[in-house]
Amino acid sequence: MRLRILESGHGFGTKALFALIRTVSRQPVLDVVKLAKYRADFYGGPMQGVTHEAMRGPSTWSVGDRELMAAFVAKTNQCEFCTKAHAAVAQRAYRDGKTVSALLSDLETAAIAEPLRATLLMLGKLTREHAVNAEDMRVVLAAGASRQQIEDALAVCFSFNVISRLADAFGFFVPGPEAFEAGAKYLLARGYR
């Protein structure tokens, strides 16, 4: 990472936690965890409150759908770390064999429900162009997404428009698939708290 404090500036207790994570998971501690645990009262703690509610709070979108949205927002931001991390969670959450990487690479023809497709396309525009308009929202509503589903999706988009920016700005190391698989297991079991 580009700031040494994020790599090794944590307190003794947090370093002990990292050692435990390495031992139990047999994987390196992901940089997103190091960021969240550095001066957690400033960013990590309050941000985890937002992200856990967006990703695991009550919603008619499934956990897999929301993880797919997270991966799609990250991909739109060209953030390799977050795209791989949340594609792994979505893949694990969807137990019906959906190939998340295929969905991410060709959303227009992917075999997904129209409300989800239209929502993802809107999130992509918002992320890419930094704005959407009422007509963009009418398209999503016409595809069958409810107002509440759109609000829930925007909450996911907010979280990953923050996290993917930080991943790239701070220069997160992108590990191999085994580390992301370990992270996906944790996020599905425990959420973002």
Binding site: F42, P46, G57, Q148, I150, V162, G171
Partner: protein
């Protein structure tokens, strides 16, 4: 329905108004992507507009200008949350315009 309003309010309040190594005015300027001198202005704009374009040199330039790592950390966090907030608020306003109800 998920509801991030309170959690988002607490996050924004903490980064802008709570204790920090960067001054409140610097954190606010980073959040708004407005009014920062170089080289910080360029770094903050990159975080906001295309964070994948941030380089080692951009971070180093901020450090060489006199900021410690904790100040850079706070300013980058504020820049990222500020831009995501503008995107979120714009989208909620568009949804409001499309549906015409609270």
């Amino acid at each position: 329905m998920s509801d991030i309003r309170q959690a988002r309010k607490e996050l924004t309040s903490r980064i802008l108004e709570g204790d920090g190594k960067a001054s409140p005015s610097e954190r606010r300027a980073a959040f708004n992507n407005s009014g920062l001198a170089e080289p910080l202005g360029t770094l903050v704009d990159k975080v906001a507009r295309h964070a994948h374009g941030v380089t080692d040199e951009g971070i180093t330039a901020a450090r060489v200008s006199g900021l410690c790592e904790d100040q850079v950390f706070e300013i980058v966090v504020c820049a990222a949350i500020g831009q995501a907030t503008r995107q979120y608020d714009t989208a909620l306003a568009a949804l409001e315009a499309a549906t015409g109800k609270e």
